[in-house]
Symmetry: C2
Subunit: 301 residues, 2 copies
DNA sequence: CTCTATCATACGTCGGGAGTATTATAACAA
DNA sequence: TTGTTATAATACTCCCGACGTATGATAGAG
C-alpha cells in the first residue's frame, strides 16, 4: 500500500537526483531509501528514475509524479493545519439561533466583533422563538441561542448577557411627554401598539406582564410586525408603545422616548447545552461576555 | 509521522461513525483502528471524534479534517493515475525539433495525428537546422528531431519517414511549361529563385547538388526566405525554382508545377538517441511509421 | 588498469502495527 | 435496581517490514 513515506522519499530523491544525499537529507541510510523507491515504482507500475550507476534522472512519469506528489504533501499539510485551526475555534461552522427582538440589542454588535476575530468561521443564523431554540439546542441542531428570559430546559445553560431597559415611546404632543417622572400606570388608559405575540413571545409576555404588575391590562389597538412600523405609528399619534431602549436609535418623526421610573427591563441570554463547550462555542461565549460588552449595558436597576 | 493509513482509517470511521464497522470495512480488528485514530489525533493535536462509549461523532475539527482528508486521498489517486499514464506515453512533454522545410511536408499531418491520439502530451516545437537538432538530441534538450538527410551523429539513430519528390515551379508562360518530358538540365540557363541557405541547409545543399549532377551551377537571382514568396516570384516571371512536391498545394497565380524525369527527391527523417526510447518517443515514432503514413508518400523512383 | 563514486543486494535487528482476549461503561430491558 | 448488550479502550503478544550495516557490482575518471 502506498504511504506518505513514499512520497516524501521520492521527492527527496527527485530533488537531489542522488540516493546518498537524499538519504542523508531524510536522516536515514541509503539502502532502505533505494528499497522504498523501488517499492513505490513497483506499486505504481511505472519507473520513476533512470539509474545509470553513475547518475540518476527522472523519467517522464517521474516528472509528472513529482508535481502530483508535491500537491499531495501540500494537501496533507493543509489538512493538519486546518484541523488544528478548527480545534482552536478559528475555523468551522457555528449555528446561532436568535429571538426576533435580538437584532435591536447587543446581538449585531457581538456578531460583528466575532466575525472580526474569527473570519473563517461560517455563521449560520436562524430566527427562532426562545422555546424553539432550546429544543434545537437539545437536539444539537443549534450551537448557541440568543433567548429572552425567562427560559429554561434540561441540559441547557442560560446565561444573561444583556439587560435592556424597557422604555416608553409616545407621541411628542402626548400630555405626559414632558412630565418629569413617568410611571407605567400613567398610561393605563392609553391605546397601546405592539407586535404580534408569535413574533416574539418572550418580549411580548414580558411587556404584558409589566402592565399587569402596574395594575392594568393594556388596551391594544394595533398589532404591527415591524418594530420600525410601531414607532412610526406612535409618531402618527395612534398610541404609545413599550420598546427596548435600543430602539431609541430609530429616530422617527414625532416620537419621544422616555425612561420610566423603577426601570422595567428585559434580559437577553445566551443559551447552550450544559456540557463541554466546543472551541467554537467557547470562543463565541467569551466574546459575548468579555472585551467590554458589559460596558455597553444599559444602567441596571 | 502521519501516514496515508491514518487518512484511510479516519475516513472509514468518519463515514461509519462506528469503530467496529469501520474496522470491518478496512478488513482489520477494532483495537488497532482505535489506536491509530488516537495516534492521529495526538499528532494533529486536535480531537477528531467525540466517543461517548455508546456513539461516535465528529468534532468540528473532525468535520474540517474529513473534507481535507478526502482531497488528500484524491490527490494520491490522481498522482498514481497520472504517473501510470505518463509511463504509457499518454501524458507528458515531448520536445520536437524540425527543419524549416518540414512544415510543408508530412510533419503537420503527423503532428495532427499524434495530438489526436495523445491529447495530454504537451508538444514543445523547436525550429532548428539538422545539425543543431542532432546536437540537441545528444545533449537531451530534444526528444525527437525531423531532419533532412544526409545527417548522422554518434548515438543518434536516423530513420527515413518520408521521401518527397523535388519538382520544378515555373512561370506558366515559360517555353518549357507544356513540354511533355522535363529534365533538370533543361533549365541550366534559367534564373533560379531559392531561399537563403541558413534557413534550411539540408534542402539547399540537396538542390545545388542536384543541379551539379545535372551538369550546371544554377544562376541564383533571388534569395527569398518564405516559400510562399518564392512561388509568388516564380508566378511573376522572375525565374524558376525547385521545391518539394508538397508545395503544389500552394496555388499561386501564373505558376506551373512540373515533375522532372528521373525524379529527384529529398528525404525527411526522424532522429533520436540510439537508446531505449521513452514511451512518449515510442508512441510518436510508431505513429510516424505506422497507420497509413507510408501510403501518403510520393511515388518513389 | 586502478581508484572512486554510487546504486543494488544480502541479511540481521527491532519498532510498531495488527491480532486476541479482556475490561469498562453506557444504554436499555425486565 | 439488576442483568444484558453494545461498543470503545486496554493489555499483551506476535510478526511483518522498514531500517541499518556490510558488501557487491559497475561505470566513469585519471
Amino acid at each position: 500500500m502506498i504511504e506518505l513515506r513514499h512520497f516524501r522519499y521520492f521527492l527527496a530523491v527527485a530533488e537531489q537526483l542522488h540516493f546518498g544525499r537524499a538519504a542523508e537529507q531524510l536522516h536515514m541510510a541509503q539502502p532502505p531509501l533505494s528499497t522504498q523507491i523501488r517499492q513505490l515504482e513497483e506499486m505504481l507500475g511505472a519507473p520513476l528514475f533512470i539509474r545509470s550507476k553513475r547518475k540518476v534522472e527522472l523519467t517522464e512519469a517521474g516528472r509528472v509524479f513529482r508535481e502530483e506528489a508535491e500537491t499531495v504533501l501540500e494537501a496533507v499539510a493543509r489538512a493538519t493545519h486546518r484541523a488544528r485551526q478548527a480545534s482552536q475555534g478559528v475555523l468551522g461552522r457555528l449555528r446561532l439561533g436568535f429571538a426576533s427582538s435580538a437584532p435591536f440589542g447587543i446581538f449585531p454588535t457581538l456578531l460583528r466583533r466575532y466575525r472580526q476575530a474569527y473570519p473563517n468561521v461560517v455563521l449560520e443564523l436562524f430566527e427562532l422563538g426562545s422555546a424553539e431554540q432550546l429544543l434545537a439546542l437539545q437536539e444539537r441542531r443549534l450551537d448557541l441561542g440568543f433567548v429572552r428570559l425567562p427560559a429554561s430546559a434540561t441540559n441547557i445553560r442560560v446565561e444573561t448577557i444583556d439587560r435592556e431597559a424597557i422604555i416608553i415611546a409616545l407621541p411628542e404632543n402626548h400630555p405626559k411627554a414632558d412630565h418629569p417622572e413617568l410611571h407605567l400606570e400613567d398610561f393605563k388608559n392609553d391605546p397601546f401598539i405592539i407586535f404580534p405575540r408569535h413574533e416574539g413571545p418572550g418580549l411580548y409576555d414580558r411587556l404584558i406582564n409589566l402592565c399587569g404588575q402596574a395594575g392594568f391590562n393594556p388596551r391594544i389597538v394595533q398589532e404591527v410586525g415591524q418594530m420600525h412600523a410601531i414607532v412610526g405609528l406612535v409618531g402618527a399619534g395612534l398610541g404609545v408603545s413599550l420598546v427596548p431602549e435600543n430602539m431609541q436609535t430609530v429616530h422617527a418623526r414625532g416620537v419621544r422616548y422616555r425612561y420610566l421610573q423603577n426601570q422595567p427591563y428585559i434580559d437577553m441570554a445566551l443559551a447552550y447545552r450544559d456540557e463541554l463547550l466546543t472551541p467554537l462555542q467557547q470562543a463565541f461565549v467569551s466574546i459575548s461576555k468579555g472585551s467590554g460588552v458589559q460596558e455597553n449595558f444599559s444602567p441596571l436597576q
